[in-house]
């Protein structure tokens, strides 16, 4: 079993994506033996009204719910987010959220964001935060969106101990309380591997040492990114088979209550 916690459907404003329909993404997943994937709307990253992206996603994953696990993109600074959240959970059956504080221009410490996380947590939803969408050096001349600072996320996980967070597209956790021993943060967050090194500095190995393999999850970033870099990491990591299974799917299955 292999579960990808970092996948997307739809369009991105600044680059053409391939494999961005359910059918195409599933073909790619089949080729790479990825059984299930958490997907959210790539279009919602730049839509003003993110709910349109969630509606598109809901239509796209219909009939594929056994493999594609839709997460809603919710913007707590936009009118009607409470309705968006309710509809995504109750009508669309979405199991989690993806938050883009820097793209949507709010702070993770904003009371509206904290309220969103608390409400979603009460509904049993998981909170996924992409640290970045794409490499900042290739950004369009139109936008200048910074990465989400890890210390802001550390503060958030401390503030919302009941919530479950999945942090994707991040790096440098070992330099942050999120990836250090004895940081006294609640163990309510999981770190996805697509940008982490498995060789040389071996950040994945350091994180396993510091916070345990039970907090690391597999993800690729498809179709923004190629799937194989993450697969190669699993191959070269010198850890036990049991730890690999945790990363491959068990941790994700646990957080998603599959």
């Amino acid at each position: 079993m292999l579960i990808d916690v970092n996948a997307y459907l739809g369009h991105f404003a600044f680059r053409r994506l391939r494999y961005n329909t359910a059918e195409e993404l599933l073909k790619l997943m089949d080729e790479k033996a990825i059984d299930k994937a958490i997907v959210s709307s790539a279009s919602a990253i730049t839509y003003r009204n993110v709910q349109s992206g969630n509606e598109e996603l809901f239509e796209e994953v219909k009939g594929h719910e056994d493999r594609l696990i839709p997460f809603a993109v919710i913007n707590p600074a936009y009118a009607g987010w409470e309705d968006d959240l309710r509809i995504c959970r109750e009508e669309f059956g979405m199991k989690g959220l993806r938050l883009y504080p820097k793209w949507h221009n709010y702070e993770l410490s904003d009371p509206r964001c904290v309220e969103l996380i608390n409400r979603a947590t009460e509904m049993g939803m998981v909170i996924s935060i992409p640290i970045r969408v794409e490499d900042y050096r290739q950004r369009s001349w139109l936008v200048d969106v910074p990465d989400v600072p890890l210390d802001e996320i550390a503060e958030l996980v401390r503030r919302c101990p009941e919530a479950k967070f999945v942090l994707v597209n991040g790096i440098g956790f070992v330099n942050s309380p999120l990836g250090q021993k004895g940081s006294e943060l609640p163990p309510n967050y999981f770190i996805e591997i697509s940008r982490l090194s498995a060789l040389l500095r071996n950040e994945i190995g350091q994180l396993i040492e510091n916070i345990g393999a039970e907090r690391i999850v597999f993800g690729t970033g498809i179709p923004f990114k190629y799937p194989d870099p993450s697969l190669v990491k699993l191959e070269v990591l010198e850890i036990s088979e049991d730890e690999k299974e945790m990363i491959r799917w068990r941790n994700a299955a646990s957080v998603l209550a599959l």
């Binding site: 391939r18 794409e134 050096r137 290739q138 369009s140 090194s197 194989d228 870099p229």
Partner: protein, 255 residues
């Protein structure tokens, strides 16, 4: 037997306390990923480099070639601002120590006249120049003389016999811009290295430039480097060219 050659790697400057261990880890990483040879330079911790600075780096690369025989191939790094010393150094590295190419960083833009004698010498010696490059859509304050693929294309048109390698298409900004800028300059190769693993980059480069002009590289992003080529929608034959055959062809040019 197919050969896998990383066209863009770095050994560690000896001012780092852990350079020996870090160099060894690079070779171990190559072992795990099936990379046979690594084309390596050492860059100084501070730029611009003095002649003593780049000579020291190159001497350490030569020592590493002996320490890891058959695994490490040397790039001679120089600062073109010290042109006499740079030319002497290139000749020594290539002719006496068997280095396979030249590494240029960002002290000068590659289309500035100060670089021309180096390109002329590289052409005479039949070795490639790996040119640090990138094209972000903003001014990079700490690299005011950063070259991009457009500058490399300019240089390639001026010196059509030169063998130029545009460094890390996946580590320096808008890769679609970079690929398009290189379309019509057949003597420029594209190094696939860098930490960015965007889906489609290898296929677009293959379509626009031809697989013969693509060189596999990691620039220390090891799993990213191998993973990109593995994922690309290309034939095994095309992947073999990217992974090693194209670089082997370049290495044979010197004879």
């Amino acid at each position: 037997m197919e050969m896998v050659i990383d066209c863009h790697a770095h050994l560690h400057h000896h001012s780092s306390r852990t350079w020996q261990e870090d160099d060894r880890k690079l070779i171990e990483a190559a072992d795990k990923l099936g990379i046979d040879k690594l084309c390596c330079s050492i860059l100084p911790p501070r730029f611009p480099s003095t002649p003593e600075g780049f000579q020291e780096c190159n001497r350490w690369v030569a020592e590493a070639m002996e320490r890891f025989p058959g695994r490490v191939l040397g790039y001679c790094y120089v600062n073109p601002g010290y042109i006499r010393e740079a030319l002497d150094e290139i000749r020594r590295c290539v002719e006496e120590w068997g280095f396979v190419g030249i590494k240029l960083y960002n002290e000068y833009r590659c289309d500035e006249p100060v670089v021309f004698p180096i390109v002329e010498l590289a052409t005479e010696l039949k070795v490639p120049i790996l040119q640090h490059a990138g094209h972000p859509h903003y001014f990079v304050e700490d690299q005011p003389r950063l070259s991009d693929a457009g500058h490399i294309a300019q240089l390639a048109r001026r010196y059509p016999e030169a063998i130029l390698i545009c460094a890390h298409v996946c580590g320096g900004g808008d890769w679609e811009w970079t690929i398009k800028a290189l379309r019509n300059v057949p003597n420029v190769y594209l190094d696939t290295s860098g930490s960015v693993t965007d889906e489609g980059v290898i296929e677009m480069a293959a379509r626009m430039l031809g697989v013969e002009r693509l060189l596999f590289g990691c620039d220390m992003s090891m799993t990213a480097g191998i993973g990109k080529v593995r994922s690309a929608r290309l034939s095994e034959d095309e992947k073999r060219k990217i992974l090693g055959e194209n670089m082997e062809r370049i290495l044979r040019m010197r004879g």
